[in-house]
């Protein structure tokens, strides 16, 4: 067992132990005044010049279609319905001939980046966006693909990038969780998982389908006990937990629960106001739109402004972007609010001077095939797809990399998920090879043994 003087031990040493928990609570509050501001992280590598302090990950669960949104492929028309050798790749399901996108592309911004008619709002902010058209991964199935996207591994045990980032950088505000995940229902799994990292770095999921903060964080406000009574209760619990540790040894999961209870207690004083997007001016709410994704994006902005390190915003409805059939009609309906809210987030962050220090990342676990499935849909495509990054020291106004002439495989300047993770960590001031955690006898990384920083897209 290692020795260290925990905050609770300090409280106990000063206050005299469990018999004087009221006094301990007082000291706890006094100490909290210091601790509530920030908590340093565990990154021990060289301090790189950090461009960003926060991450907002806009996650389109299911695999959004790059061909219909960011990667125009007019050659598909010439070979419509045919299946040349170049597209005879193994897919998850049976696929047919080449299936052109009917959507119009326009050139936007100083770089003339082509963006589909489905995304006019994102087109209007393209000068702040770096479109990466050459993403690739290797697993065509959702569950491992999602794990790869969020954790850098297809295994269902590894920590999320949000956990790695908060582990490395700590938090700016201990009155709030450092890692938050928003969705129509509280997200879980690889979107929030801390894996072998201490459980205090687990993401906290919130459902935002109703903007009422009482619905987003049910039961946060204690209706029966005032703060002083809660503090007393919590300190008794802390003392009991401490006794448990003293008797049975340090337990990182218990530590995580203790910190979660502390965070929940502290959230009472800040979170209700913060999570209430109805306090935003109406014109700002209108800009994001009245949907759950709009609420998530607006709330994400408020959270990073309050010091939350990493916010994952999942587009509502589960695997919404998994368009195996009727893709043209589905995209026309679904892109409207996604486009509006994602663009509003970028625009709003920039207006408030926060875009430079915030990484806004957009994408899904893979893309979709240029060949049809069922005649009206597209299958999963891990060989080549599009993501974008805005803010945080990226160039903006460019499209990087390219897929083949049909949009199936990434060919030029290929970017793996590890490469992207390494680049994002670099922008947060961390060397991805030095952000490690020892577990089961060896050091682990978000980027495993891979990952090259994509310097061509950095400003």
């Amino acid at each position: 067992m290692t020795f260290r003087l925990s905050r609770r031990q300090m409280i106990e040493a000063i206050g005299g132990g469990i018999g004087v928990v009221g006094m301990a609570g007082m000291w706890s509050d006094l100490l909290g005044a210091d601790l509530g501001a920030a908590s340093p992280g565990h990154y021990k590598g060289p301090k790189l010049p950090a461009k960003a302090k926060h991450v907002i990950m806009l996650y389109l669960n299911g695999g959004p279609s790059q061909i219909d949104m960011f990667d125009p492929k007019p050659a598909l028309f010439k070979y419509a319905g045919q299946r040349p050798n170049a597209v005879d790749l193994r897919t998850e399901r049976t696929t047919g001939g080449l299936f052109p996108s009917p959507f119009e592309y326009k050139r936007y911004g100083r770089g003339g980046v082509e963006v589909s008619e489905l995304l006019p709002q994102l087109g209007s902010v393209i000068d702040d966006v770096t479109v990466i058209r050459s993403m690739y991964t290797f697993n065509p199935t959702h569950t491992p693909g999602r794990a790869m996207f969020h954790t850098g591994s297809i295994l269902a045990t590894r920590p999320s990038m949000g956990s790695w980032v908060t582990y490395g950088l700590g938090t700016e505000n201990q009155n709030l969780p450092s890692f938050v995940a928003l969705g129509s229902a509280p997200p879980s799994g690889p979107q929030t998982r801390s894996g072998f990292l201490p459980s205090e770095f687990q993401g906290i999921g919130f459902g935002v389908s109703d903007p009422d903060p009482e619905k987003i964080i049910p039961n946060l406000r204690n209706k029966t006990l005032d703060p002083a009574s809660q503090r007393t209760d919590l300190d008794v619990l802390l003392a009991m937990n401490q006794n448990q540790e003293r008797t049975f040894g340090e337990d990182q999961f218990l530590e995580g629960r203790i910190k979660s209870m502390e965070t929940a207690y502290r959230m009472q004083f800040e979170a209700m106001d913060l999570f209430d997007i109805r306090k935003e001016p109406q014109n700002i709410r209108d800009e994001y739109g009245p949907t759950a994704f709009g609420t998530g994006c607006l709330l994400a902005r408020r959270l990073v402004e309050a010091g939350v390190r990493y916010v994952n915003v999942e587009y509502p409805g589960g695997q919404s972007w998994d368009d195996h059939s009727n893709i043209n009609n589905n995209l026309r309906k679904r892109c409207v609010d996604m486009d509006q809210a994602a663009a509003a987030l970028i625009r709003d962050l920039k207006r408030r001077g926060k875009l430079d220090e915030t990484l806004v990342v957009w994408g899904g676990e893979f893309g979709r095939t240029p060949v049809s499935e069922s005649g009206t849909g597209r299958d999963h495509n891990p060989y080549g797809f599009t993501m974008f990054v805005a803010g945080g020291g990226f160039k903006g106004g460019i499209a990087y990399g390219a897929t083949d002439e049909f949009g199936f495989k990434a060919e030029q300047n290929r970017v793996s998920m590890h490469d992207l993770h390494a680049t994002l960590l670099n922008q947060l001031g961390m060397d991805h090879t030095k952000l490690t955690y020892k577990y089961a006898g060896r050091d682990f990384r978000l980027t495993d043994v891979q990952g090259e920083i994509v310097r061509d897209i950095l400003a």
């Binding site: 125009p72 007019p74 028309f77 010439k78 419509a80 319905g81 045919q82 299946r83 049976t94 696929t95 047919g96 001939g97 080449l98 299936f99 052109p100 009917p102 959507f103 119009e104 592309y105 326009k106 050139r107 008619e117 006019p120 043209n328 009609n329 026309r332 049809s372 499935e373 069922s374 005649g375 009206t376």
Partner: protein, 252 residues
């Protein structure tokens, strides 16, 4: 040109498409003109419409498209109707009405009343009346036509057409006042000079990929557009492969 489409002829198109695709790819149904409701049914629908729908959609069915009225309902006539229901089955119109309308009390009318209203809406959009009433069953076989201009051509056919090239305020390239698109020879069009013509038509086509063919010099000019046909809802689009001057300026 207004036409009611029947699913039976779509089978022919599907068969044709199967030749070139290992698996079915989206194709256009062949169009067939035919009446699908009676004048008496439309008149019954008119009365029900006035009682249950006109408050939001206005007596003239122009709804929110009427700039002088503050109507809540969407227009049910003209281009907006084609946009919303073009290339859809009449049963889609029926089902939407039954599910969502009247807005104050969805589903409160009988199936027959909804069918009658659908008949009235179709009549107001100049569709022909006939001897048989629209029924729940027949509505699933009848299609509302799209904007027209490429009748009988399946998606991805190489086509050619003449009209005025125009860039709209949103930056889209359109071929307006265009004649109907015709099937063209993919090998001949690019090389041959376009025949000049002053004839103008009634159609508008959205052009995809036009920016890769230096369209600016053609802006406001009569232009022959060649490329691959594709439909999106009621919209007919052309994935441009060639632009050629085809006559005097459109302002003439």
């Amino acid at each position: 040109m207004r036409k009611i489409l029947f699913g039976s002829t779509a089978l022919l198109c599907l068969t044709v498409a199967a030749v070139s695709a290992q698996q079915a790819t989206p194709v256009r149904k062949t169009v067939v003109r035919d009446p699908a409701f009676t004048a008496m049914q439309a008149e019954r629908g008119h009365q029900t419409y006035d009682a249950s729908c006109s408050g939001c959609h206005l007596p003239g069915l122009d709804g929110s498209g009427n700039p002088t009225a503050n109507a809540r309902g969407a227009p049910l006539v003209g281009p907006r109707f084609v946009q919303d229901f073009g290339e859809a089955k009449v049963s889609d119109l029926f089902n939407k009405m039954k599910r969502d309308m009247p807005a104050s009390k969805p589903g409160s009318l009988t199936d027959q009343q909804y069918l009658d209203i659908a008949a009235y809406v179709l009549q107001q959009n100049k569709f022909p009346t006939g001897q048989a009433e629209l029924t729940v069953d027949s509505a699933t076989d009848v299609w509302v036509p799209g904007a027209g201009g490429a009748e009988g051509l399946v998606d991805y056919t190489y086509v050619s057409g003449v009209g005025c090239l125009q860039r709209d305020p949103s930056g889209s390239w359109l071929l307006v006042k265009a004649q109907e698109l015709k099937k063209a020879d993919v090998t001949a069009t690019a090389a041959a000079p376009a025949a000049t013509t002053d004839a103008s038509g009634e159609y508008t086509f959205r052009l995809l990929n036009a920016y890769n063919f230096a369209p600016e010099p053609h802006n406001g000019q009569r232009t022959r557009v060649s490329g691959y046909l594709v439909r999106l809802g009621a919209d007919i689009r052309v994935n441009v492969q060639a632009l050629q001057t085809a006559g005097a300026s459109c302002s003439n």
